[in-house]
């Protein structure tokens, strides 16, 4: 961005020292400790000896835990897919709205987004309880009460509810940057709106859509609160298992190994996104030529 050669060192250090020290001491060090613990074993209640053992990682591949990882991936995947289906038309409407409409639609998703996660989850609990509003409505039509809370279904609904803004915002920013003359051309040449969406808008916006998918998938994968409050005993995700190792089971090294497996999955997803972005950036000049 700028040349450093002629800048004064004083300004540089004045700007860099505090954030660099903070991030090292309060972020890099704690994570490194967890990483080291993942190669250790428990001695006492909270005492850990870092022995360099790989036992904890071997235990992660125990079928019980593999199943939970698989389930978490499925939950996050289904959530992302549902969010995409619900969110894409919303983002589309937002892109082509008037200035005023854009602000209103943006506000429409931002207010829930800014509302406390716990409050939103609690609100859903009230709706889905056996004696909740939905079952009340079912009652009017003569259905028996349906157990919805504490099921996998409730977890998916909760994750979609919480993560919808995560997909709409990046989708909107991609669609908003798009060259509208291409859409107009498609419509002028006789394509219908649906055909235009799938044959013109989606291919052009593909890198942005993939990016939006990752931005939804990553936080959904590490969810703790939603499965904890809305899920039943068989809808646990990785985060709940990690929490148990640290708070109740007191097996910190194993919890640390699980945390780092989750971290690696997250970083893998981020890496895929970065590769996608780079490929898209490389493809663009060729496409124009």
């Amino acid at each position: 961005m700028s040349s450093a050669s002629n800048t004064s060192r004083r300004a540089f250090w004045a700007v860099l020292t505090a954030p660099a020290a903070w991030i090292t001491l309060f972020f890099v060090v704690p994570l490194s400790v967890i990483w080291a613990y993942s190669f250790g074993r428990t001695l006492g209640l909270t005492e850990v000896a870092v022995t360099g053992t790989l036992d904890n990682y071997v235990r992660v591949f125990d079928p019980v835990y593999l199943l939970i990882f698989a389930k978490s991936l499925v939950f996050a995947g289904v959530t992302t897919a549902v969010c995409l289906v619900i969110g894409f038309p919303y983002a589309l409407a937002m892109t082509f709205a008037s200035d005023r409409g854009k602000i209103l639609l943006l506000l429409g998703i931002m207010l829930p987004f800014w509302t406390n996660l716990l409050v939103r989850t609690y609100a859903l609990m009230a709706v889905m309880r056996t004696e909740g509003y939905i079952n009340d409505m079912f009652g009017l039509f003569g259905f028996g009460p349906v157990e919805m809370l504490h099921t996998n279904f409730a977890v998916i609904v909760g994750l979609v509810y919480v993560h919808l803004p995560f997909i709409i915002l990046p989708l909107y920013s991609t669609l908003d940057r798009m060259d509208r003359s291409l859409i107009e051309a498609s419509l002028d040449l006789g394509a219908g709106h649906i055909a235009t969406i799938f044959k013109v808008i989606v291919p052009i916006a593909k890198p942005g859509i993939l990016s939006a998918i990752m931005l939804t998938f990553i936080p959904a994968l590490g969810s703790y609160l939603t499965p904890d409050l809305l899920g039943g005993p068989d809808s646990q995700m990785i985060a709940s298992v990690i929490e148990r190792q640290f708070k109740r089971a007191n097996d910190w090294p194993f919890g640390a190994a699980l945390s780092f497996m989750l971290m690696y999955l997250t970083l893998l997803a981020m890496g895929l996104r970065a590769i996608q972005d780079r490929r898209a950036a490389r493809a663009r000049p060729q496409g124009d030529a």
Partner: protein
């Protein structure tokens, strides 16, 4: 925009997707899905019944119960204190991070950039347990300090996950900065730091405000990381609500949730207003 000048009852133009009924219906359904649970939560905080489902009449009793619940009020005070201190630190650290990354080229820049981006993407649970171990084993935070110093561990954790967000907001704003302004200040004899302070700071002020409000809300909103750093005497509002939700569902939880929602909405409104005024003032 051209669309604004058209009469409302005209047929929608080819690109006016937002005025086509299938999309309108869809958007309406999404809004209902997002707001209905929250709206019913608010409505039933005024319900004169312990059973939270049927409407029995209007009352403010639950807000009274909440007001007299000293544990809840303490948790609330803690949350606001933490959010305020975290906001101040996050704005400073976030602005410094953004300026460092925007203005200077230095060895290890990529590493620094990665380190300050990581807190945004790391799963909350991982950061939570890291903080639990750090403040439990490595640097034990004294439990019996006088308020608000007993909140130190939580505040530090909150600053750590908030300031990278502020940095992102400030960096976006810096991208539109005209470097010639700073050069002009330097030509007129200002030192490097002086030029940054006098010319750059006014430019990024809207970003500092929205970044600060973001940091405040992130701190007020956080449950997972706080859950792992808080002790029995350092309970925050979300952690308190969590234990209430877990052990007993009463309309008092609805009242507490409504208060939290109102604060967030008020903060957002203030933020938007301030930003709007700042933008109107000559940008």
């Amino acid at each position: 925009m051209a669309t604004a000048s058209k009469p409302l009852d005209s047929k929608p133009g080819p690109l006016e997707y937002s005025r086509r009924w299938p999309l309108r219906l869809w958007v309406g359904a999404v809004i209902l899905f997002l707001y209905l649970p929250l709206a019913s939560l608010v409505v039933f905080s005024f319900n004169d019944s312990r059973r939270t489902i049927r409407w029995e009449g209007f009352t403010l009793d639950w807000y009274g119960t909440m007001w007299n619940d000293s544990a809840l009020i303490d948790a609330f005070t803690n949350s606001l204190t933490i959010a305020f201190i975290s906001m101040l630190f996050s704005v400073v650290l976030g602005a410094l991070t953004a300026i460092a990354l925007w203005r200077f080229r230095f060895p290890g820049k990529g590493l620094f950039d990665g380190a300050v981006t990581l807190p945004i993407v790391v799963p909350e649970i991982c950061m939570g347990v890291a903080m639990l171990v750090f403040f439990g084993q490595i640097v034990p935070w004294p439990r019996d300090l006088v308020w608000p110093f007993d909140l130190g561990a939580i505040i530090i954790a909150h600053i750590t996950f908030s300031f990278p967000f502020v940095a992102v907001v400030v960096r976006a704003r810096l991208a539109s900065f005209n470097r010639e302004m700073e050069e002009a200040a330097r030509d007129l004899g200002a030192s490097e730091l002086r030029a940054l302070w006098d010319v750059l700071l006014p430019h990024v002020r809207p970003a500092l405000i929205s970044g600060g409000l973001l940091a405040f809300t992130l701190s007020l909103d956080d449950f997972v990381i706080t859950f792992f750093t808080s002790g029995p005497n350092t309970v925050t509002f979300p952690v308190k609500i969590y234990s209430m939700v877990r052990f007993s569902v009463t309309p008092e939880v609805n009242a507490a949730s409504t208060v939290l929602m109102l604060i967030t909405i008020a903060l957002t409104a203030i933020g938007m207003k301030l930003q709007g005024r700042d933008l109107a003032q000559g940008h």
